[in-house]
Symmetry: C2
Subunit: 339 residues, 2 copies
DNA sequence: TCAAAAAACCGAAACGTTTCGGATAACATT
DNA sequence: AATGTTATCCGAAACGTTTCGGTTTTTTGA
């Protein structure tokens, strides 16, 4: 493994000059600079970033803490989209990503701060942790630059990117209302997610603005999980046959509701309309295809990385970015039958 | 940022003793060891892995070179599965992953060796590159421990993991033959993938063993791409209406063929049977659901990381692992109609 | 009580960079 | 000729660890 010293020896100059030459400083003559570069190439030198990072105290590395990098979240590839988006930006900016493989949420041996400090990452991006996760407290306490996804929290060194979930949910419910539905159920995710709270607000606002009373009994918690949502929906639809439409806080849960409807012999969309959230790929492939609120996970990842870099470089400007949604109307929604 | 020196000062011992104490060496008394550990915790010390890696000449890091970490490969989440599998193993083994964000294949500024040497990764896992990729030559030339996915190449320091694609393809075609099909088309991926060659062999072997002649005109190249496959299938099915079944080297291409059949007004499976490869999630959700050969991408990733570690630790044993496949029979295959 | 053995500790070098402060040489200015 | 400027270069320290070889202290055994 050739080092800067080898080059220095071969070129007959000091290591200082080699370093400054390779890094394009002005106080080395063009002639020796060329010589240094040539020799470096001949010995196919590549700099040791470890040593460099050690002395410069920055590593050109982002730490990534994602919860969904496991078999179970293959269906909604939200995590994948975000990852890809981050990857895209990072590829353009000379940084690299280290994936912190946080094992099972319960059995963590290292704290967030330890993870970041040990690897000396310049900043971190966190996705998919719950609002009651102990990591979150560390994020605000430590001053490690950090971007959160879907968790509203800002300090001088932390920002977040999210989707406009209130408006998104509102669009979904308004779509149902415009079709003539008034008895609209809601399967939300668990309460430890910011997005759940927002989507609930959106749901309620849409109803309020249409002067439709809110019925707490029509609201269930599907834990963002297909089977849990199916179970909850089964009970909800049995107990409340008056419901003609259900809005789900995720497409995965919408799939669960679809199954529940099928089990109860209810026809979608003729007897029950369903709209989901996320617009995962499956949404357009299932039968009936799913009306959904699309959010651009790729963009979320891209913006997160971009925001992190701007925080790192102390750029002025907001530390929050909020992205839009789009209603995708498909087969699972239809006006209710006249009774 | 507290260092080993701070601890040494606080504990009244040398840095040597602190280092050896924290790392559990035997020549430090239990009493001082406890003291050191206590103080380390009080100052909430975390070791600087950069410094450690620098002197120990290993980084406890795997480099990851995946091609499919982009928006376009969200549909088949093969890359995601592999990533998740790697992540799982790595989480159990104390290593971390750095994602090399290789930008567009054409415009690479750094070579494979540079990437690995700069970050001083202990080993690398490479997925999704074509057999004509220049990186591949570097892999064999450099002696960086490396595990390839779906590229058969071994040296003392490189191994690979793959699926038994010959047998997998054979199963698919045999399934069709057993149903009574004899005029079976094949949409393969591009020739720069090892898996394409293998799946072709499997296709041919199955036919040969059933003494069915191989017709080159029934074999098309769909580039592993849905739209390309649709185009190719359109022509294939028009030119050769005698074909009653098509085997596709990927589910994505099978979806393309499905679309082509739909455009031609052919009913699947009554007029045309289709079987795919990969068993992506969509396979079981589309209508008609897709008969497919399942390969376990999660397992592939897991085994790849495991193999890399064993190579790193100079364990004896084979440097190749081959995984099995499973035929998933669904709605897209049916015996041909009697004519 | 003394020597030998064992246990506990430590100094300093090393890993490969960057960078501060200064040194040398060449040149221009008075 | 003396001074000031500028262009090049370099020595050495620093980053935070690990580890080699050695030293000191304690224990053991006769």
């Amino acid at each position: 493994m050739t080092t800067i010293k080898d080059i220095a020896k071969a070129a007959g100059v000091s290591v200082t000059t080699v370093s400054r030459g390779l890094n394009g400083y002005s106080d080395v003559s063009e002639k020796t600079r060329e010589k240094i570069v040539r020799i470096a190439k001949e010995l196919n030198y590549s700099p040791n970033t470890l040593a460099r990072s050690l002395v410069m105290n920055k590593s050109k590395t982002f730490g990534l803490l994602v919860s969904g990098l496991n078999q179970s979240s293959a269906k909604d590839n939200i995590t994948f989209g975000i990852l890809a988006g981050i990857n895209k930006f990072v590829g353009e900016s000379g940084y690299d990503i280290v994936l912190f493989s946080t094992t099972s949420t319960k059995q963590r041996e290292k704290t967030y701060t330890q993870l970041c400090k040990e690897r000396r990452v310049d900043g971190a991006i966190i996705q998919g942790i719950r609002t009651d996760d102990p990591y979150l407290k560390e994020v605000v306490e430590s001053d490690i630059p950090c971007v959160l996804i879907d968790i509203p929290l800002t300090t001088p060194s932390v920002g977040y990117v999210t989707t406009d979930n209130i408006l998104g949910a509102k669009k979904a419910v308004q779509h149902l209302i415009h079709m003539g539905h008034t008895r609209i159920g809601f399967i939300n995710g668990h309460g430890f997610a910011f997005v759940s709270q927002q989507r609930l607000i959106g749901y309620e606002e849409a109803l309020k603005e249409a002067t439709i009373p809110i019925n707490q009994e029509w609201i269930g918690n599907g834990e963002f999980c297909e089977v849990a949502a199916e179970r909850v929906a089964l009970k909800l639809l049995e107990d409340h046959p008056e419901i003609t439409a259900v809005f789900c806080a995720s497409d995965l849960m919408a799939l669960g509701v679809l199954k529940a409807a099928r089990k109860l012999g209810m026809d979608v969309p003729n007897e029950l309309s369903i709209v989901g959230f996320d617009d995962i790929i499956l949404a357009s492939y299932v039968t009936p295809s799913l009306t959904s609120i699309a959010q651009d996970t790729f963009q979320i990842g891209y913006e997160a990385a971009k925001l992190l870099l701007s925080i790192l470089e102390n750029e002025a400007g907001s530390h929050v970015v909020s992205l839009g949604t789009e209603l995708k109307v498909r087969e699972s929604t239809k006006p209710p039958r006249q009774q």
